[in-house]
């Protein structure tokens, strides 16, 4: 067993667990996108960031790839984590504003603007389909091509692949192209329409998004995690 400090609490983890698995085991919710329990870890979407180490030498790592280590200090909800994660969601939104999965993430984490030019590429290169094809379907029909900004997912030589059995596994697992969001607002490219469907305030209190605001806060959101409180205050100030 490994002992580590998770959000100021000493917890135990099994040998070989990642930080994400440890956090999940203790009921902490960390958002993920390119992670799937049935597939190998990738660490590409950078949503599951956590802050590790002790001040002043802390750094952010993706919890899905980082192993639980003896004595490690891990914090999952610091301001640095929240702000960086919001930037990642904003970057994703600018690529695939029509994806419901990503719009939901934006609503949930209080991303209310996209400051980059919308590219409508639909694909955020999370690699779920590539791993699905290879690891679950034993297909190897698709893979990554090129690097940097030219990177894309395709079949070899962009031709119909003989390895492909048209099983649809890649479409099934895609977070961007399967569920479509119908209502991005033209001026902001952020939908936020389904805010009322999902009580986001359970995680982060945000005045602008609180649907009980006029009637007086319901109080369920007030979780006294100092870092979350601090972050939501910072959010409030910004607006």
């Amino acid at each position: 067993m490994i002992t580590l400090k998770l959000n100021n609490v000493d917890v135990k983890a099994e040998e070989g667990w990642t930080l994400l698995e440890t956090a999940k085991f203790y009921g902490l919710e960390i958002p993920t996108l390119c992670y799937n329990e049935g597939l190998s870890v990738y660490g590409g979407c950078r949503l599951c960031l956590v802050e590790i180490g002790e001040e002043p030498n802390t750094k952010l790592v993706s919890s899905c790839t980082y192993p639980a280590e003896e004595g490690l200090v891990v914090r999952t909800g610091t301001r640095r984590v929240i702000e960086t994660r919001k930037m990642m969601i904003e970057l994703m939104l600018s690529l695939a504003p029509n994806s419901k999965t990503i719009q939901d993430l934006a609503s949930k984490f209080g991303v209310t603007q996209v400051r980059f030019k919308i590219r409508n590429e639909e694909c955020i290169l999370c690699g779920l389909c590539v791993r699905m094809c290879r690891e679950q379907m034993d297909g190897r029909a698709i893979g990554f091509q090129n690097r940097g900004h030219k990177r894309k997912i395709s079949t070899p030589f962009d031709m119909r692949s003989e390895e492909c059995r048209l099983c649809g596994g890649c479409i099934y697992i895609c977070p961007a192209c399967q569920l479509r969001c119908q209502g991005p607002q033209p001026d902001t490219d952020v939908c936020n329409a389904c805010l009322t469907m999902d009580p986001t305030c359970l995680d982060v209190y945000d005045e602008l998004q609180c649907w009980m605001y006029d009637a007086g806060r319901c109080g369920t959101c007030v979780r006294e995690e100092p870092e979350i409180k601090e972050a939501s205050q910072a959010l409030g100030k910004k607006k």
Binding site: T65, T84, F116, L125, H149, R151
Partner: protein, 621 residues
């Protein structure tokens, strides 16, 4: 070629080394040392060698003079250069037509050819040999200096400067642990960029448990404007090899790889040749020098991806997978190549090892600063008089490198900034010129040591344009795995590009900085974590330049085409028609002896008129 006999014991190796040292000492025929690294060859050194050979053959002087073709001597500005031993006369910028005179005058009659000597641009004095040249005076060339003494294709030449003695010493007098201790004590830190203590790295790899272990030499030097590692592999491959053999012995491995870019054909050729020669002599292979230590070294060729210089991506590439970094830990020292403990060091780090063993850890740790020991090779390029490779002790100031060794900025222009550490390094402004160079101080200044690129920029450089250039490089070279790095560099490039094109908006700088910080924080590997440096450092030191682009729509340095215009000053224009004739767009109108006018709508801002005007009548605004 005659088959060389294997050296089967350490005594025999010592004897071979001594034999070669004696041979060099007793050599009386003058030697013409011609530098012919890639840069020398590009400036025609092979043609110089050819004509020298022709003259020697024609005059039948084979017994009276010898030519030694060496790697780079560092002074790129003076290429192709020739050093005549034993006098050590230094001739620069030699042309093939000079060959006859060099042989007849200098070699046969000991007469100096004045015009081929190096003239100091500031004092106008001529230098007879290297020691008199400012460029070399402040350098401490413990690694690079031997390049001028040896023919990299001859193992005998390396023996003759005491090469492979450190290996003999390591195998006979030292236990592996002692070697690691010596390296730890010397304070040598990784020369590839991050500056991790080499000895500690070795100790981890030695302690790690595995079926087998590997050592790797990282020669995937991909920074624009940097060529330290290339010159070492071209000019002194055996030293790198010796370092690797010692390292492999200390760590306890039987197999090693040299990961080298395929774009370095000469370096690749020389290191391949060196491995063959070492194998032939029994310095590599089964039971080296009769001991029970065996080592095999293979070459792995890289395909030119910048990211493959990152340890885990490099390993992935050797294994035949796509060069993509992975999460550390586990570190390569624990789980590296083929999941076995692996130690990766940079070319320059390996080249330092034989020197440390030879001269001792104490000697080595006297050079440099408290935290950074030894020397570092930088490639000094850009707007600088003495372009070249410089090897300096750590702790030397930027001012000394740029103005004393580098000879300042050409054309009397003013120094603006120096970019260190390659594309993911940062720009350091002139206020920080007195910064002593070591790993920590450069990081504190917002840059990195990196592998040693040093690009000097003068007043005519636009810092926003510089940031754009490096971001463009990085968005191409990011592996694309992490969203933060792939999209982050792309978006930063888009914003900076807009700024240079006059499309910048209020708030762009703040957005850039926020995004840059997120990229730095969120990315997995060193490339992403430093990818924001070009932006962060230029905003930090040259914010007013960004603001001028955004608010006033002006490029103060006169570089960004959308933000400048060429104008003719009425009072200076003599109406000579020079600009009018050269303009390809017919954008200039005017008559002889009357003031000309540039039609801004037609002007494509190529700058041809500016160059053509002899009266300084055209200005950039």
């Amino acid at each position: 070629m005659k088959k060389t006999e294997k050296i089967k014991s350490i005594e025999k190796l010592y004897k071979t080394i001594d034999h070669h040292i004696q041979k060099r000492k007793s050599e009386e025929t003058p030697v013409l040392t011609v530098s012919a690294g890639t840069c020398g060859r590009a400036r025609g050194s092979m043609r110089v060698i050819e004509s020298l050979e022709k003259v020697i053959q024609k005059e039948n002087l084979k017994d009276q003079v010898r030519i030694r073709v060496t790697g780079c001597h560092g002074f790129c500005e003076a290429e192709p250069n020739i050093i005549l031993q034993p006098h050590n006369f230094f001739y620069q910028k030699v042309q093939p037509k000079d060959a006859k005179e060099i042989i007849s005058e200098t070699v046969l009659n000991d007469k100096i050819i004045e015009r081929l000597l190096y003239t100091d641009p500031s004092t106008e004095t001529k230098a007879l040999n290297e020691d008199e040249i400012e460029f070399y005076k402040k350098q401490r060339r413990i690694v690079l200096g031997d390049n001028a003494l040896i023919d990299p294709t001859e193992i005998g030449d390396y023996f003759s400067i005491g090469g492979y003695r450190s290996l003999a010493k390591a195998l006979t007098e030292m236990k592996p642990e002692e070697i690691i201790e010596t390296i730890q004590k010397s304070g040598l830190r990784g020369r590839g960029g991050a500056g991790f203590p080499t000895g500690n790295k070795w100790a981890f790899a030695r302690k790690a448990k595995g079926d087998t272990k590997y050592v790797i030499c990282n020669a995937d030097e991909g920074d624009p404007g940097a060529y330290m590692d290339r010159s070492l592999l071209e000019g002194n491959p055996h030293r790198v090899l010796e370092g690797m053999i010692i390292g492999a012995y200390a760590i306890g491995t039987k197999e090693g790889y040299i990961y080298i870019r395929d774009e370095y054909p000469l370096a690749l050729h020389h290191i391949t040749l060196a491995i063959e020669q070492a194998k032939e002599l029994g310095l590599l292979g089964e039971s080296i020098l009769g001991t029970d230590f065996s080592l095999d070294i293979h070459i792995a060729k890289g395909a030119g991806a910048f990211v493959c210089g990152e340890e885990t991506a490099l390993i992935a590439s050797i294994e035949g997978r796509v060069g993509e970094p992975r999460q550390r830990p586990p570190f390569p020292a624990v789980k590296g190549l083929w999941k076995q403990p692996t130690n990766i060091n940079n070319v320059e780090t390996w080249a330092n090892i034989p020197i440390i063993l030879q001269k001792g850890a104490d000697w080595f740790s006297q050079i440099g600063t408290n935290g950074s020991k030894g020397t570092k090779i930088f490639s000094l390029v850009g707007k600088i008089n003495n372009t070249g490779l410089v090897e300096v002790p750590m702790g030397i100031t930027l001012r000394e490198i740029i103005f004393d060794i580098g000879g300042g900025i050409p054309g009397g222009k003013e120094f603006k900034a120096v970019q260190t550490g390659g594309p993911s390094g940062g720009c350091i402004p002139k206020e920080k010129l007195n910064l002593p160079i070591d790993y920590e101080s450069l990081t504190a200044a917002g840059s990195i040591m990196g592998s040693g690129g040093m690009i000097v920029m003068d007043e005519n450089t636009c810092m926003v344009d510089v940031a754009k250039y490096f971001l463009n490089f990085l968005r191409d070279e990011s592996c694309g795995k992490c969203l933060s790095c792939r999209e982050g560099t792309q978006r930063m490039w888009e914003i900076v590009k807009d700024i240079t094109e006059g499309l910048g908006k209020e708030g762009d700088i703040e957005l850039l900085v926020t995004l840059a910080r997120a990229v730095k924080d969120a990315s997995m590997c060193g490339l992403g974590q430093t990818a924001a440096n070009p932006v962060l450092s230029t905003v930090r030191y040259f914010r007013e330049e960004y603001e001028a682009h955004i608010k006033d729509k002006k490029c103060p340095a006169g570089v960004c085409k959308n933000l400048i215009q060429y104008l003719i000053l009425e009072e200076k224009c003599t109406g000579c028609l020079a600009c009018l004739k050269i303009c390809s767009q017919e954008a200039i109108t005017g008559e002889l002896k009357k003031v000309h006018i540039i039609n801004q709508e037609k002007c494509i801002k190529c700058g041809a008129c500016f160059e053509a005007c002899n009266f300084d009548a055209i200005i950039i605004e």
